[in-house]
């Protein structure tokens, strides 16, 4: 028994190292331009945008894009913000002129009834919208990245607002990044294993900065 503990520890350490290495190797590489959006209209998408700014990665943002808007590419067809609809573009138009197809869409998962209310959405309509957008991304081979950085408070029992948003996006993602306390129950780990989706766990939102720097080169 006394010999098993160090051996066991060594095995765990080796596995951990292997995972880390594998995790680093498994980081996907995706080009620009990218679109950020919310799955559930929580403020986590603001965090995502700030992460990208900190990483020096330009992006387009729309809170409630439809497949048609995604299809319009950079600049979202010239659409402007209005009540219940927000767009923003920091994309370098010299490198990616208006209309350039997006290479990736990043979804920040987290349900907010207040946010959905402000956008005139219900849980059902948000789910339906997300389904259509992801279907379009799959058709056009646009890389789908999903992040859950809201922690345990942005989770809930099966069928709850937050879990429905996770169900709508995470199983169809090409890459998942979640904070450790978002994944306390191991749901994302199991889902990623079952769907063979690369998954990276981070401690804080800060950890996402280095990841996006590596993914979006």
């Amino acid at each position: 028994m006394t010999k098993r503990i160090p051996l066991g520890l060594a095995a765990v350490a080796a596995l951990g190292l292997a995972f880390l290495v594998a995790g680093q190797q498994a980081l996907p590489k995706v080009g620009l331009p990218i679109l950020t959006t919310s799955a559930g209209q929580s403020t986590d998408v603001t965090t995502l945008n700030i992460v990208l700014e900190d990483a020096g990665i330009a992006y387009d943002y729309c809170d409630v894009p439809t497949p048609e808007m995604v299809a319009d590419g950079v600049g979202l067809g010239g659409r402007e913000s209005g009540p219940g609809f927000h767009v923003e573009s920091t994309t370098d138009l010299a490198k990616s002129p208006a209309g350039t197809p997006y290479k990736a869409v990043i979804f920040a998962i987290g349900a907010s009834l207040k946010g959905m209310g402000a956008s005139g959405l219900t849980l059902d309509s948000e789910e339906a919208r997300l389904k259509k957008v992801i279907e379009f991304c799959k058709q056009k081979k646009i890389f789908v990245m999903a992040v859950h950085i809201g922690g345990e408070s942005k989770r809930g029992p099966a069928g709850s607002d937050n879990e429905r948003m996770i169900d709508a996006v995470a199983p169809l993602a090409d890459y998942l990044v979640v904070t450790k306390d978002s994944n306390k129950d191991g749901r994302f780990t199991k889902l990623a294993a079952a769907k063979k989706i690369p998954l990276t766990e981070i401690e804080y939102a800060l950890g996402l900065v280095d990841i996006v720097k590596q993914v979006f080169q």
């Binding site: 986590d44 965090t47 700030i50 992460v51 809201g150 922690g151 408070s153 939102a205 800060l206």
Partner: protein
């Protein structure tokens, strides 16, 4: 719509209203256009009155808890002693989250939302009353609130930020014996454990029997981690001069700060450095650092925003008309505080919380906006102090010269201030009325105090200009008379306190609960009476019980405006 006719007949419409003498000059189309303005992120108003600015030496704060769909229930939390080494659990408390009554009450269920943090407990926590925030503790420390927002990059909704505003106020009020202590407690905890999650830029009016302070706190961005060694919040506090009054209407109020003057200012250690780091202040600019301009700038004036941000100007104009503040002055150039033209009473403050900017360029019933019965709730293009959205409003009084349990009062009016009635809860009470502890927006309940006031309010909307007079008569009976009786209640409580403090607490508890029951029952009856009196928009005289029934008078200007509108909408004849 026939647009060719728009201009001449639009003029006809305006003329009709002007002829009726109900359209003040100087507003016209710009104010009408504001009807479509989107008013977002504007909620509560908080007023502060220094001790030498009040008629009785009270330090006062207010909070109009303007949400519309939030929880309105209250709780009393008793004092407690805690063993060395014990911890205090921190919860995430959303100002907006509610639960169906069948599942339970907010102030039980919020404990399911753990923030994942246990902090060292203090040896003793004070008793207090709270609703959305901690409002009054047994040491007369009181709090009011107003959301002020912050620069977008400062928001931190990540779980790294363990403290939301509601939780922070509960910690502050249970641990502090003075306003300064409360500010230090809240500020230091936020720095250490991170502030944000459900909230961003926020203002708290923090007072005790001597001082009133404006405390403003903001997150430091979503990339903050506790391991960074940097503060997880940025905050500043400025004391309202004792002979002045101030207000926060969802706008940062703290400008330049002089941290050497500890009698007037307090702040977190990063108060300037964070602004420099985030690019919100350049020390080389030659301009002094301003908290509000760096972290929460608000552009425009009452006039330039068509009344969207008119509360700041309106308040100063209300309390100090002699200074002739102009609605064109940019809000950020208006003063932090002002000496009122006359000393302010608690009833004056209650009236301010009911202010609708009548008679100003932002009058919500000017012209045809309020309909024939001058209902200020029809037109919401301008943001007035009483916006009809309040869950409840509070007016706190912290009064030196009395023992704390008697000196501290939080007056509460549930629902819209104009149709509600302020009821006192004393700092020394050991329980609160049961009807204050239950209810929500989506389930009518005769057990909930709030529904009594909403019930009356609902029946006022039918013929507002008439029915509000019935409400005001009830307010005179149940609110004004009670305010006038306060010295008598104080003396009775004081006499008991001198014999045995617990007797005073028992007396004040019984008195306030009985009063709340009386007022609540009176408002249920008021609602019944209004339903009968204005039934089907007729006037029924319940005493005479006659066959004839009148109608509330429809003014001539309204009939003219209706005719003008018909012409405006007439189809184009080919």
């Amino acid at each position: 719509m026939n647009f060719k006719r728009l201009i001449p007949f639009g003029l006809t419409l305006v003329l009709a209203v002007l002829l009726a003498g109900h359209a003040p000059a100087g507003t016209g189309q710009s104010a009408l256009a504001a009807a479509d303005a989107v008013i977002a992120g504007e909620g509560c108003t908080s007023i502060l009155v220094g001790r030498d600015a009040s008629v009785d030496g009270s330090v006062m704060t207010t909070h109009t808890c303007d949400c519309g769909t939030c929880d309105w229930t209250w709780r009393h939390v008793p004092a407690a002693d805690h063993k060395t080494g014990s911890t205090r659990t921190v919860y995430h408390i959303s100002q907006y989250k509610t639960w169906p009554p069948a599942e339970g009450l907010k102030w039980d269920l919020y404990k399911k939302d753990l923030a994942g943090l246990e902090i060292p407990q203090v040896a003793h926590t004070y008793a207090y009353h709270h609703g959305m925030f901690g409002y009054m503790n047994e040491k007369q420390v009181s709090i009011g609130e107003s959301t002020i927002g912050c620069q977008r990059k400062m928001q931190n909704s990540t779980p790294a930020a363990k403290l939301d505003l509601s939780m922070l106020t509960l910690l502050g009020i249970e641990r502090a014996a003075t306003a300064r202590e409360a500010i230090q407690v809240m500020g230091s905890l936020a720095e250490k454990y991170g502030y944000g999650f459900h909230d961003d830029g926020e203002m708290l009016a923090v007072a005790d029997a001597k001082e009133a302070w404006i405390f403003e706190i903001m997150p430091v961005g979503p990339l903050w981690t506790p391991e960074s060694g940097k503060p997880g919040a940025v905050w500043a506090a400025e004391r309202v001069p004792d002979d002045e009054v101030s207000v926060c209407p969802n706008e940062s109020r703290i400008g330049e700060i002089d941290l050497a003057n500890k009698d007037v200012f307090m702040a977190s250690p990063n108060v300037v450095s964070l602004a420099v780091e985030m690019g919100y202040y350049d020390p080389k600019s030659g301009k002094p650092f301003s908290f509000k301009r760096a972290y929460s700038p608000v552009e425009g004036s009452a006039m330039s925003t068509n009344g969207r941000i008119q509360r700041l100007w309106r308040f100063f104009d209300l309390v100090a008309p002699s200074k002739k503040f102009k609605p064109e002055t940019p809000n950020m150039d208006l003063p932090f505080s002002v000496k009122p033209d006359k000393k302010i009473s608690v009833q004056d403050v209650m009236a301010m919380t009911r202010d609708r900017s009548y008679g100003t360029p932002f009058d919500p019933v000017q012209g045809i906006r309020g309909g024939p019965f001058k209902n200020p709730n029809y037109y919401r293009g301008t943001r007035v102090i009483d916006h009809g959205l309040a869950e409840y409003s509070t007016v706190t009084q912290s009064r030196a010269g009395f023992p704390d349990p008697i000196g501290g009062i939080v007056w509460i009016a549930f629902g819209s201030q104009d149709t509600s009635c302020y009821m006192p809860l004393y700092a020394g009470m050991t329980e609160i009325p049961k009807s204050f502890m239950v209810g929500d927006h989506w389930t009518f309940s005769r057990d909930s105090v709030r529904w009594a006031f909403d019930y009356a309010d609902f029946h006022v909307q039918v013929a507002y200009s008439e029915a509000i007079k019935d409400v005001q008569a009830a307010q005179a009976k149940y609110e004004t008379e009670l305010v006038q009786r306060t010295p008598e209640i104080d003396q009775q409580a004081l006499a008991l306190y001198k014999k045995k403090p617990a007797k005073a607490a028992e007396f004040l508890t019984g008195f306030a609960i009985n009063n709340a029951t009386t007022v609540t029952n009176a408002w249920w009856k008021l609602g019944d009476d209004l339903l009968v009196k204005y039934n089907r928009l007729y006037l029924y005289n319940a005493e005479k019980r006659g066959f004839s029934r009148g109608q509330p008078a429809t003014p001539d200007w309204w009939k003219k405006a209706a005719r003008a509108f018909d012409i405006l909408m007439e189809p184009d004849k080919k």
